[in-house]
Symmetry: C2
Subunit: 182 residues, 2 copies
């Protein structure tokens, strides 16, 4: 079903190459391409007592504390270069929230910003959660963990937004894919 | 609730400046910033007979035809520089799908990629739809319109993904925000 666009015929031109991204122009398109990582995993963690586990951290690009689902880059550290997406999702879940999951189900994959970023994401649902650590992220991260009852999550997110937080739209995508109704 | 990060103290450094985006490094962060547009609107159009209107177009960054909800840049053309998000959403809906909407409801706003793109999006639900044009986008676009019954949309998206299309994750976010159950 993929067809050739007239823009596709033009060669990509590298405008800048940094540590995490290469910035490219190709015909009328401008976009970033991941460097030094191979993918991104997202996790929708649902506790046995019906809460979704969300995280909050400051994000420089939007100058705000952002409400997100746990996520991480895959293949960004030499130690983990060969890990697959499932193992990476388990590692990030534990690092960021302190939870280990008995069950991880791949819900889907897709693009967060198909017009400006070539990265693709995989979204997992994590259940059978056991708290075995503190969470909060690695030494470079400052993450707050929130556990929100599923019937309240839509209202909770709107309240946080009204208070000045930014909501990462992938939270809503994850809730939809996990079968949670707004 | 916003706090200062140690990265925030560092000044942004422009790595490249192109037509639509500036590519910036700030401390450990690398991200793109919109240029020549002020925002992005997304629309979840629901017909009176219970279908969601999706669009399909080729996206060079992911090298695939992508399934999306209608969307557009606001303030990217001199003619429309002063339009607000609601008017922009109506214009994009009509350009891309041929529909005009009697009712537009702002569902929420948020960030698609808070770690790598400073752009913020607004999502509207469009109802009371009347077909008054052909859709397909402006002269630079090649858009196919799909109308999918709501109870079938999750399965339809998975089928398209299995066939090699990429699903824009904002489709799922829009469905959640519009109150559609997976």
């Amino acid at each position: 079903m993929t067809t050739q666009s007239h823009n596709e015929a033009e060669e990509p031109v590298v405008l800048a190459e940094a540590k995490y991204f290469t910035f490219v122009r190709q015909g009328n398109w401008e976009y970033i391409q991941p460097r030094n990582f191979t993918g991104v995993v997202l996790i929708v963690p649902i506790t046995d007592d019906g809460k979704v586990v969300l995280i909050e951290q400051y994000r420089v690009p939007v100058k705000a504390r952002v409400i997100e689902i746990p996520a991480g880059l895959i293949g960004d550290k030499a130690d983990f270069a060969d890990e697959d997406h499932l193992l990476g999702a388990k590692r990030e879940l534990h690092e960021e929230t302190g939870y280990e999951a008995d069950r991880m189900e791949l819900l889907s994959s897709g693009a967060p910003s198909a017009g400006s970023n070539s990265v693709m994401l995989s979204i997992f649902k994590a259940t059978g959660l056991r708290k075995t650590g503190d969470g909060g992220g690695d030494h470079t991260e400052d993450i707050t963990v929130h556990e929100v009852p599923l019937p309240l999550v839509r209202a909770w997110l709107e309240k946080r937004r009204a208070e000045g937080n930014v909501i990462d739209l992938k939270v809503y995508a994850g809730l939809y894919l996990a079968g949670i109704t707004a």
